[in-house]
């Protein structure tokens, strides 16, 4: 289910028109869309993403990237937060509407090392790829720590058996009161393999914890993208190296990176 693409060739991407199967609200300002394959089934890995063409091109102009939150024989899904014009279009989509998607793109999460315990940490819409990863890793008994400001911002999802979920809210209206980092302090992370997606400060905190614990950590970054296929060099992220001036493309080498390979002191 999870291919280790961090050291292999990518499967080629395709561009297709798919029909919306469902579009449901899962939290305030946040929805989940499912799209049918319409004869073009592919097998994206958790952490990989697709891009959607804007319906009213050229306003907005560019495709918008979304990480897969599910993919099975009936279709695929992603979770979106309403932010600007691109995501506002998504909220309008109804079952039967058509959408132009391009995927699978990028390099996803690698499988965990043997004998390590996957700990998955999601903030905001980072929940999409983390949900897909948790489902793929359910045999490993992953722990998912998911954070939001308040209860009605926490996405309502059907987690499969085998996945342990630790919701946190900053105002204490659901789950643990505090941030995901507060929750991690109460957790045994000595054998953890960390996987995280969400706001940059949260991912940086997880990266630092992983360094302290000397455990592996995979982060999925969000960078504005133009082509999504490695052609324009627009989605560069700073890599950690001695010269301090090398970059990786979030759309090709990423969006998932070994956190130790990125430069964090921005």
């Amino acid at each position: 289910m999870i291919q280790n693409q961090h050291n292999s060739e990518h499967p080629p991407c395709i561009q297709r028109t798919g029909k919306i199967l469902a579009n449901r609200s899962i939290a305030r300002g946040c929805g989940e869309i499912r799209i049918g394959w319409n004869g073009a089934e592919i097998h994206p890995s958790p952490g990989q993403f697709l891009t959607l063409a804007p319906r009213r091109y050229p306003l907005p102009l560019l495709r918008r990237p979304y990480a897969y939150s599910s993919a099975d024989s009936s279709g695929f899904g992603f979770i979106y937060q309403i932010r600007g014009p691109g995501s506002a279009e998504l909220a309008e989509l109804r079952p039967g509407d058509e959408t132009d998607w391009l995927g699978p793109l990028g390099t996803g999460f690698p499988p965990p090392e043997p004998a390590s315990r996957p700990i998955l940490i999601a903030g905001g819409t980072g929940i999409g790829p983390i949900f897909y990863l948790a489902v793929a890793l359910k045999e490993h008994g992953p722990l998912v720590v998911t954070g939001a400001r308040e209860a009605n911002l926490l996405p309502r999802l059907h987690w499969p058996p085998g996945v342990h979920v630790l919701p946190c809210t900053e105002d204490g209206s659901a789950g643990i009161a505090g941030t995901v980092m507060d929750a991690l302090k109460e957790t045994d992370t000595s054998s953890a393999e960390f996987y995280t997606c969400g706001p940059a400060p949260m991912m940086e905190a997880v990266h630092k914890l992983a360094l302290e614990q000397n455990r592996p950590c995979w982060v999925s970054v969000e960078e504005i993208m133009a082509c999504g296929v490695g052609a324009c060099q627009g989605c560069a992220v700073s890599a950690a190296d001695d010269t301090g001036t090398t970059y990786q493309r979030a759309c090709l080498e990423g969006p998932v990176f070994n956190s130790r390979k990125l430069k964090w002191d921005r």
């Binding site: 080629p12 991407c13 395709i14 561009q15 063409a53 804007p54 091109y57 050229p58 306003l59 907005p60 102009l61 560019l62 495709r63 391009l102 960078e223 504005i224 993208m225 133009a226 082509c227 999504g228 296929v229 490695g230 052609a231 324009c232 060099q233 627009g234 989605c235 560069a236 992220v237 700073s238 001036t245 090398t246 970059y247």
Partner: protein, 303 residues
């Protein structure tokens, strides 16, 4: 009815059709091969190539504007050596003409890369980028000063027999001056336009979105500026002019052709719709068929 001739001739060499992909938007050709038939393109203009590898500018490098895109890539490219060892083997398998976009900080940078391109079999011709607004020494000083441009083009002309296209900057008062300077110094064709200097401000952080401050604007927003630049340049010179900037539809490309362009390039739009160049090509063909044109040059001279 006679066969429509879509070929374009530059310095005695032909391109199979008038629609290519703009430099910097299509990598070195292979990135888009899963998505479109790249061999059906009239030309592939590569990302800028400089003698040394360039990592590019500090991110973020992109900002979307109303029907436009500001980029500040900073000529990120693998450099001449890696181009020859890693990209050329891939380019060898592409049958569409490959036009290498050449950039540099100094005249000798341009000469070094052009010398290598003259010897490099899969390369059809070069496009001199004297118009990049995104680096301190990205050639825009050449592109905005007709005397400097003339000297550079004359020097490069000495080392290259392959078609030499000069890509002009729109960031000038009158584009016909650099256009004439490039022609007089020996350029075989011109392409207009590169991106326009532009800025987007993040009102929450109270800073420009792009660390360098300004970047280059492309996309549908610049179409009318590009058409005007082509019209002025084509009036000023006898060599072919290639139109680029903001093309999303066949109608946009036809505006360029009617304004005097012999060929076009599509850039930003293919990020959103990778099939744009081929859709534009079939639209041009259809228009010519319906309106009774048999060659691109018949589209010129209406105004």
């Amino acid at each position: 009815m006679g066969q429509i001739d879509l070929t374009v001739t530059i310095a005695g060499k032909t391109l199979p059709n008038p629609v290519g992909t703009a430099s910097g938007t299509f990598g070195f050709g292979e990135e888009y091969s899963p998505l479109i038939d790249i061999n059906a393109l009239g030309a592939i203009y590569t990302k800028a190539l400089t003698p040394e590898e360039r990592p590019g500018n500090t991110p973020p490098r992109l900002a979307e504007t109303t029907a436009g895109l500001i980029n500040s890539i900073g000529l990120a490219n693998p450099g001449l050596n890696k181009f020859l060892t890693e990209k050329v083997p891939i380019l060898q398998n592409i049958t569409a003409p490959i036009i290498v976009n050449v950039a540099g900080a100094t005249q000798s940078d341009y000469i070094k890369v052009c010398e290598a391109m003259e010897e490099c079999a899969p390369v059809w011709g070069v496009e001199l980028n004297v118009s990049c607004p995104n680096v301190d020494h990205g050639g825009m000083s050449f592109g905005t000063s007709p005397p400097l441009l003339a000297r550079l083009v004359a020097a490069v002309r000495k080392v290259i027999k392959k078609p030499l296209i000069v890509k002009l900057s729109p960031n000038v008062a009158d584009i016909s001056e650099p256009a004439r300077a490039a022609e007089d110094a020996g350029a075989d064709a011109l392409s207009c336009i590169n991106t326009l200097t532009a800025m987007k401000v993040d009102i929450h952080r109270r800073k420009p979105l792009i660390p360098r401050g300004t970047g280059g604007l492309s996309g549908p927003a610049i179409l009318p500026i590009g058409v005007a630049a082509v019209w002025r340049s084509a009036k000023a010179v006898k060599i072919p002019v290639i139109g680029v900037g903001g093309i999303s539809r066949p109608e946009d490309a036809l505006e360029y052709l009617l304004a005097g362009a012999c060929a076009v390039q599509t850039g930003t739009t293919l990020f959103t719709h990778p099939n744009t160049p081929l859709r534009v090509l079939s639209g041009i063909e259809q228009y010519m068929e319906q309106q009774g044109f048999q060659s691109i040059s018949e589209l010129h001279g209406f105004f």
